[in-house]
């Protein structure tokens, strides 16, 4: 399994320059927006793209056929991918925090520091849920069809939010305790989603033919 984790990380090295460029872009956006936290939080979703890219590279080289001949169970092949995703998410989480600190120091703006923990809790949970969905879709349908689902996952909520905003529908008032509860359970939901996703993906991969 260690070999597979290394394979994905080495493979992503070639994608590293693009990732750095995107990271720099979001850093700039954060500085421009006047909100260090907004820019920093934009960095975390890059881990979703990185997770997706590993599937594309595997599909390009028909890697799964060769992987099945290696001395490991199919469930180990799947769990290695999940570990890579978690490693990438933690890396981007760290990068995101660093970028917040960097932009906050540059702008001398620490007014959002009290929002760090709740914001990152919700974001972490959300990212984990999205990654869980993307991984299962990739295992079930492959990267080409999963890309369509990926686009819908990002576009549909954005369209829905824009429609709600433009329609001037009065938003319900949410109490602070509810918000805090939401911030607390989101990471737990995210981890639960990841576990469920792994179980489904392992079952799908067990029956796949290459």
């Amino acid at each position: 399994m260690k070999g597979l984790i290394l394979k994905d990380l080495i493979t992503l090295k070639s994608y590293g320059k693009s990732l750095l460029l995107i990271f720099a872009l979001f850093l700039f956006l954060g500085l421009s927006s006047g909100s260090p936290l907004s820019g920093a939080m934009m960095v975390m979703p890059i881990s979703i793209m990185a997770a997706y890219v590993t599937f594309s590279y595997d599909k390009l080289s028909n890697w799964d056929c060769y992987a099945c001949t290696m001395p490991m169970k199919r469930s180990e092949i799947v769990i290695a991918r999940y570990f890579v995703t978690i490693i990438l998410s933690l890396l981007f989480f760290a990068a995101s925090l660093l970028s917040y600190l960097f932009t906050a120091v540059i702008m001398q703006n620490f007014s959002e520091v009290y929002l760090l923990i709740p914001s990152y809790s919700v974001l972490f949970g959300l990212i984990m849920i999205l990654i869980s969905l993307i991984l299962v879709l990739n295992y079930k349908f492959g990267p080409d069809k999963a890309r369509i689902a990926l686009i819908l996952i990002f576009i549909l909520p954005s369209i829905f939010t824009a429609l709600i905003t433009q329609s001037n529908v009065p938003m319900p008032v949410i109490s602070e305790s509810t918000i805090m509860l939401f911030c607390t359970i989101m990471p737990i939901l995210g981890i639960a989603a990841l576990l469920l996703s792994y179980l489904m993906a392992a079952k799908i991969y067990q029956h796949k033919e290459f």
């Binding site: 070999g3 590279y57 080289s61 060769y66 001395p71 033919e209």
Partner: protein, 281 residues
């Protein structure tokens, strides 16, 4: 002991089916696996390696169903490179070192040096032949007991093929090793194989020792009824010059009828006879 035992496997697709495929690969043997394009060679190999699921039958490797421990003993080379194009031989060493228990980095780099493979260049910068050599080096470097090769020498120049075949002959010197080798380059099989298995449209047409094929099989070109009566005719091919018969008692016919035109047959021609010829026996 048989390193590979395939017993009555069936695998059905929409347009194709493996039907009742059975054969063995004994220890200490090189078994050549031949067939025309689409005959089922790769499907059979993938069934053995559990890349695809069979509908019926049984496959055993080293006397047992496939498992992680057994996969440690198998080196696999397919007809294409499965490593991401951005990886170098050095990266592949790092990955496989952490995958196989008995991975030998020194041996891997030795093969790279002997075959003049650049270890720091990405796979996309290597020629098809060099990529194949990297795959072969990767298959050999964890000291397997069984090599399963699917068109492993395709894309190699004759000199490189000769070097690779020598490596395989060296590999088989250990009687606990075996090779299962599918190839269109039948001259390679004629050089090194001990047994030949021929698959056609998902069915095994024959499984014979190569020496038996070389010594006893032949092409009889005659209209003499007496000779034809004594010949054990398997297939008939009609061409512009007349009829040719595939027989499996060439030595007997040659001894009984020295004047008879009865030539030894190559594996290529044997395949053509079995596919294009009319069945007689």
């Amino acid at each position: 002991m048989n390193h590979i035992e395939v017993n009555h496997i069936n695998k059905k697709y929409e347009q194709f089916q493996l039907s009742n495929v059975s054969f063995t690969v004994p220890a200490g043997c090189i078994v050549g696996f031949i067939g025309e394009n689409g005959a089922g060679k790769t499907t059979t190999i993938k069934s053995i390696l559990n890349c695809i699921m069979i509908n019926q039958g049984e496959i055993k490797l080293f006397g047992k169903p496939i498992s992680n421990e057994i996969k440690e003993e198998i080196g696999v080379v397919f007809d294409q490179n499965f490593f991401y194009e951005g990886l170098s031989a050095k990266d592949i060493d790092l990955i496989l070192k952490n995958t196989y228990k008995h991975w030998d980095s020194q041996l891997f780099y030795q093969y790279c040096t002997d075959w003049e493979l650049p270890i720091n260049q990405a796979m996309k910068q290597l020629s098809k032949g060099m990529k194949m050599k990297v795959s072969i080096a990767a298959a050999l470097a964890h000291h397997p007991k069984l090599l399963i090769l699917d068109e492993a020498t395709s894309g190699l120049d004759p000199i490189s093929r000769n070097d690779i075949l020598d490596i395989f002959l060296d590999f088989i010197q250990d009687e606990d090793h075996s090779i299962f080798f599918s190839s269109h380059i039948t001259s390679d099989l004629e050089k090194i194989a001990d047994r030949i298995i021929f698959i056609h449209k998902g069915k095994i047409l024959f499984e014979k020792d190569k020496d038996e094929l070389k010594d006893n099989y032949g092409v009889l070109k005659t209209q003499n009824e007496e000779i034809l009566k004594d010949a054990h005719k398997l297939r008939l091919m009609r061409n512009t010059f007349g009829c040719e018969y595939l027989i499996d008692n060439r030595q007997e016919i040659h001894q009984a009828y020295p004047e008879a035109v009865c030539d030894p047959i190559s594996i290529d021609d044997l395949m053509v006879f079995y596919v294009k010829g009319d069945e007689l026996a």
